[in-house]
């Protein structure tokens, strides 16, 4: 008989709703042969989104050393032989631009994909990330604080970067991390696991999830009353689960709040390409020359790349704080964190490199790259709008914020007495097959009910499901 053993209570207490009871029930229904419509997770390629051609050509060529010469030979054969050219379509030829791009990567990366890299990731990739950040934020040699490649860590998705930082900042339950409610459960789960205290702040839903000093000050005062030392504030922009793009004014409120209270900012900016026309400003730009400690995260999983499975991303650090009572610097400790897992996976590193160094306008493959990108973003936005319009036909359903990320987080103002969003989402699943995650999984203002829906399934599927949902809803809430 195996004995029963104690398990770390922090690990035991972690919750992770995105893979929780509703998706689990959906999996059971699927096995029983029911058709379900998975709107519960931001996993684009699981729902038919195709990977970008350029991205994967580069990755595949990096994985197969020696293929560069072979592909050049095939290109020459196509050019010289009528017979070959007749058989091979244009998309069967790897463009010379791609071969050169990869040849350049091999130059910069002689040990290749199979060797451990520096714990931070290869320097040339970190340099490319720094250039990407500066270009994005309009930093020039004349103005602004440029990104430093030595302060950039390649990570396995954004989750790993969050873990590194929280593991360092939290020493015990007297350390608090401020997180927006609703939030992505990675934060609550990691705080619980590290033994810290989650301090909630409540963006103003009715004002498009905006932020102001009063709500931040209020949360901090609450924490102080409980003798909790707040160490950092997490901002997710565009939001998850809200999908809302934060306005610059809200961002500036966070910066002044962090400055005055000596807090670090953890800026989860993984949806920075999912803007659909809304203007967005990074926290690196917002803090400018301020010396606030900033940890910002980006990922290949979202945007129009949608390379979730590959687990790639980066963590950029600005103004790392000094470490109390220690001779080691903050960045040295962070490097030790990264060293224990040796390096982030090299395939994720390659995809991160392409993300920050895409083919420029005017390059021969740009037209195809841009067309693929636009097709993905345009369709996402169309689906987002369709779903929002459907909410208008559902009694008591309201959705706020400028559309961003991959999600809506509508508020359910009318529900049958004694029931909450969990019952609603479960009934929605049973009746229509639509898989969502209920608001409680992300946290919400007490007394409110929500759900998160990812607008990722194919358009036809969404078109077909919306009338069913509207009908279900209007019956359910009055039933």
């Amino acid at each position: 008989m195996p004995v029963s053993v104690p398990v770390n209570p922090y690990v035991l207490d972690m919750e992770y709703a995105v893979r929780g009871p509703i998706p689990q029930r959906a999996a059971v229904l699927q096995r029983e042969g029911r058709t379900t419509i998975p709107c519960n997770i931001g996993n684009p390629q699981a729902l038919g989104q195709k990977p970008l051609t350029f991205l994967r050509q580069v990755l595949a060529l990096m994985e197969e050393p020696g293929r560069l010469d072979r592909e050049k030979k095939i290109s020459r054969l196509c050019a010289s032989s009528h017979e070959v050219a007749e058989q091979m379509r244009e998309e069967d030829i790897i463009p010379e631009y791609v071969l050169d791009y990869v040849a350049d990567m091999y130059e910069n990366w002689p040990t290749g994909m199979g060797a451990y890299t520096e714990s931070k990731g290869p320097l040339f990739i970190r340099e490319a990330i720094a250039r990407f950040i500066d270009a994005r934020d309009g930093i020039s040699t004349a103005s602004g604080v440029p990104a430093d490649p030595e302060s950039i860590f390649l990570t396995s998705g954004a989750s790993e970067g969050v873990r590194f930082i929280l593991e360092m900042l939290i020493t015990d339950s007297s350390d608090g991390i401020m997180i927006p409610i609703p939030q992505y459960p990675l934060y609550s789960a990691t705080i619980v696991k590290c033994g810290g205290t989650q301090i909630n702040y409540y963006p103003d839903e009715d004002d498009d999830w905006s932020l102001d000093r009063s709500m931040l000050d209020e949360a901090l005062a609450e924490a102080k009353k409980k003798k909790v030392n707040v160490r950092a504030i997490v901002v997710i922009n565009p939001g998850n689960p809200t999908g809302a793009v934060l306005d610059a004014k809200s961002g500036r409120e966070v910066v002044s709040f962090a400055r005055e209270n000596g807090l670090a900012i953890i800026a989860d900016e993984v949806y920075q390409e999912n803007l659909y026309g809304a203007d967005w400003v990074s926290f690196a730009k917002l803090i400018g020359e301020d010396d606030i400690a900033l940890f910002s995260l980006h990922s290949i999983s979202k945007g129009f790349y949608g390379e979730c499975g590959h687990r790639g991303g980066y963590l950029e650090v600005r103004n790392p704080p000094a470490v109390e009572n220690a001779e080691t610097g903050f960045m040295d400790v962070l490097l030790k964190q990264a060293s224990v897992r040796l390096n982030s996976n090299t395939a994720g590193q390659v995809l991160t490199y392409v993300m920050v160094n895409p083919p420029p306008e005017g390059s021969p493959v740009y037209a195809q790259f841009a067309a693929e990108r636009e097709a993905i973003l345009t369709e996402l936005y169309e689906k987002a709008v369709m779903i929002r319009e459907a909410f208008d036909k559902m009694e008591g359903v309201e959705s706020f914020g400028r559309i961003g990320a991959l999600y809506h987080f509508p508020r359910l103002n009318v529900l049958p007495k004694g029931t909450g969003d969990y019952e609603y989402c479960m009934a929605l699943l049973e009746e229509t097959g639509i898989v969502t995650v209920n608001g409680a999984g992300f946290g919400q203002k007490p007394g409110t009910n929500h759900l998160r829906i990812a607008f990722l399934p194919p358009k036809e599927m969404i078109e077909a499901m919306l009338p069913d949902w509207i009908a279900f809803h209007n019956t359910y809430v009055t039933g």
Copy 2:
């Protein structure tokens, strides 16, 4: 001014020698233009080992959907056109067997590399791992306990699996983990980070690093004296840093010890293919029908694959214990651990699949696959033997154990008065450019001195360095 902040003392106290001061000094010398010979880390492809052709062809084809049809077309062109066949060499054609192998993977994996997978990894890969374990251990339907795909987790290298388990088993400093001294610093670092207590046991170096009950009982008694509850015993087989292959008798001693004391076994078996003819037996086989909790780890980083950078591997669990005072099962908590990081990277998953499902004897690509494998393993062994022979020419250097893994861990019996292995390794680096890691980085019996050398650099490089080392040594120790 950034304020100074407290950092989690466990994270601050972690040490990770493999990327510590000696390799860091080597990096400085390299930047100054010195040639160094990196024997400090088991990173084969950084030292010229080529990735296996089959492995990378499969991975590249998986990364580039649509290339299957294109490659078939190219094969047909080669077969039908004299002109094409003349230009394309045999290695330019992807064998039909590889295309079929990949087509089969696509069938099993319709969402592909870019989508999140199940947190444990795709089921068909876990099934293949289970078959691999059963075949390796001679488990049939008639005898033995077969591996269960549901108890297998794909991980980002073995390190991640170790982290999951230690984070669960360690609740505070009263929880101890027994680790062999010397050990791989992943264990000491992770135990420190989790706030647990490291309990050392000392394999018998002079008896080829063998284990017996008395040394294990002694370590446990020491722990009990300190009021430490030992939760698990770590065994690394073949050893790192010792390189020694454990004999079955030693393994059985561990099993009886774990059984009688209700301990889990954490079996780090990542070097299970680096045996060079020595017989080896897995802990899954050793425990047999016993109900001891077993966590065993394997990786794509070692063996003859050497795919360190890709971060792939798996954790297999047997006889998970019940969780004290909780309704959740141990496996559910482990699944939650895996869920928070969503999934291990898909490229590492593909390489793990190929590792456990290589082309079988008789398949058309087997000859090439086997030849590449043998070339790597044969050369590794030759280099290992060359280095051992050199030790015989160095005063007071002794090395024990049946050769396995990628390392020797010789004992330095004679050193200048008042100096230890750190000074020795630093002097060796400065004088000869040879980069090693000193014994203290792994832990060693008090009063002894060692170093770890990875026998990975190219043969010519080792041949050239050994006389220098012998000369350095014999001058240094008498000097």
